[in-house]
Amino acid sequence: MIEGLLIGLSAAISPFNLMMVVMGCMVGTLIGMLPGLGPMSIIAIMIPVAIGIGDPTAALILLSGVYYGAIFGGSTSSILLNAPGVAGTVATSFDGYPMARKGQAGKALTIAAVASFAGGTIGAVLLMIFAPALSSVALLFHSAEYFALMVVGLSAIAAFAGTGQVAKALMMTILGLMLGTVGEGALSNMPRFTFGMMELQTGFSFITLAMAMFALPEALFLVMNPARAATGDSGKITGMRITGAEARSIAPVIGRQSVQGFFIGVLPGAGATIASFLGYAVERNIAKGAEQAEFGKGSVKGLAAPETANNAACTGSFVPLLTLGIPGSGTTAILLGALLALNVTPGPRLMIDTPDVFWAVIISMYIGNLVLLILNLPLIPYIAKILTIPRTFLIPFILFFTLMGSYLGQNNATELLILVGFGVIATILRFADYPLAPLLIGFILGVMLENNFARAMQLYQGFDFILERPMTLGLLVLAALLVILPSYRAYRARKRAEGVADGD
C-alpha cells in the first residue's frame, strides 16, 4: 500500500494535476451552487473537457474534484437560500438554513466546510483500506459472476428507489438496457435496432443521454417554475469562527457519520442522499434532551451530520466503481462512461494494469478535500455572489452548455436533435415521477452486462453457467430477493391500508 501511495503521490503532485484538482473544485463549487444543477449535470458538462485533456489520471482527478466541489457548492446554497442544488444536501438545509436566519451563516458555512473535509478525508482512508482488499477478491470473478454482480447492482438500485417506486425504477433500468442495445451488437458487429440510420450505428452517446436525463429537465423546470430557483440576496456573511465547545460537540458526530456514510455510499443505489438523511436521523435519535429539541432549529450537530455523511458517501461510491467497475450511482455511472472513453477500464485489473490512475485518484481526494477547505473558508462570501446572477442570463447559458456538451462528444449536429428528443421524454418521465438515474446506469452497464452474459453463455454452451457456478446462482437469487422483498412489503402495506379503509 505504501508503494501505491508513493506512485499516487508522484502522479498527483505534478503541477498540472494539482492545477486540475484546484480547477475541478472551483468549477464544481461555482456550478454546484446554482440551483438545479447537481453533480451529475456538472460532471456531464465537464466530460468533453476531461476527454480533451487525454490523460486519464488528470481527467479523473479533474472530475472527482468537480464532484466534491459540486456537493460542497450544493450545501452552500442549502444553507444560504434553503435551495439545495443537489438532493444530497437537502438534509443540510434542515439546520443550516435556520442557522443562517439567526445570523450565523458564517458559522454554518464553516461547520459545513469542516464536516465535509473530515467526511471526505476519513472516507478516503477507508477507501484506501477496503478497495484493494475488495479488488483482490474480485480478481477471482469470471464473466458469469460479473454478469450476476451487475444484475445485483441494477436490482439494488431499483430496490433502494423508495416505497412504491421499485417497479418504476426497474422499468427505467430495463429501458436503459434496451437503449444500450441500439447499435452494433456485443458479439457480431451486426447493427441492431438502427432502423437503417447511419447515425445510430454506433449507438446513442452516453453524454447526450446524461445531459438529456439530468441537465435539460432541470433547466426546463427552472424555466417553468421560477420559485424553484429561489435566487436572491445572499446577505452579508460574517463570524466564521466556531467555539471550542461546538467543536467538541460535533467531533463525535463527524467520527460516526464518516464511517456510516462511507458504508452507505458503497452500497449500489444508496449514495449521498440516503446517507445524509440517515445520518441526520441517527444523530437526532442519539442526541439527548435539549440537544435533540435543537434539531431543525439550527443545531450544529444537525448540520455536521448530513454534511459529513454525504461527503463520506461520495467517497464510498468510488469503491464499487474502482474495484468492480460497477457504478452504484448516477454520478459514478457518468464517471465510468468518461473512463471508458479515455480507454481505462475500471475494475479489479485497474490496480494491476494502471496503478498510477488508481492511487492518483485516491491521493487527489485528500488534496481535493484540502483545496476545498482552503478555497471555501476565506472565499465563500465572494463565491456566494454567484447566487445573485439573474435567471434570464443563467438559464440560456445552462441550456447552451448542455448543447455544447453533447455536440463536442460527437461533433455532429444530429446529436443535438437526439438530445432535445430525449430531453422532452425525460421531462415527461420526471412529471410522471419516474426515477431517471436507473435508466442511465442501465444504459451504461448494458453493454458490459451483455458482453459478460454472452461470454458466459459461450463458455458453458447455454444457460448452464447459472447452475454450475454456485456463486453466480447465489448472486442472482440475491438480485431477485432485492427486488421482490420491497415489492412484497409495499403490497402488504397497501393491503393493510385498504383493510383499514374498509373498517371505517
Binding site: 418504476k168 434496451m178 456485443a186 458479439l187 451486426m190 424555466v223 417553468m224 434570464t392 447552451f400
Partner: protein, 161 residues
Amino acid sequence: MALDRWVALAFVALCCVYGYAAFFTMDDILPPILQRNPVWPSTFPKILTVLGMLVGLIVLFTPKAKDDPARDGTINLSRLGDYHIVQAVSLLALMVAYALTLRPLGFVGATVGFLVIGSLILGERRFHILLPVTIVAAASIWYLVQEVLGIFLRPWPGFLM
C-alpha cells in the same frame, strides 16, 4: 388515467415493437455460421423484452398509493397550468433551431443568436448588458474549444471562410 400509467402503457407498446424486431426480424440476417453459437445478437434483447413486458404491466396495473401532498418547489403535474409552459416550449424550439443553424451560420453567430433570443424569451430587455456578455462568452468558448481542446468548430458561416 394518471400520467405514470400512460408512460407505462407507452413502455409496453415500445416493448412490443422492440420484441417484434428481436423475435421475428433480427435473426433473418444472421449468417449461418453464427447460428451455431449458443448466444445470438438477439438473445439479450429477447430476455429484455420479456422482463420489460412483465415490469411494464406490473406498473400499469398496480393500484396507486395515496398521493403525498406536493412539497414546495417540487414539480407537480396538477399545477401544470401555473407553469411557464410557453417559455419552456419556445426554448426547446430554440434548441432545435440552434442544432439546424450551427453549420450554416457558424458557431459564433448561432451561439450569440441562441443566447440573445433565449434571454429575450425569458424576459430580459437590457441589451447593453446582454449583447456584450453573449459575444464575449461565445468568442471565448470558441477559443477554448478550438485552441485549448483542439476540437474543430467553424466560427463563421461557410461563405466567409
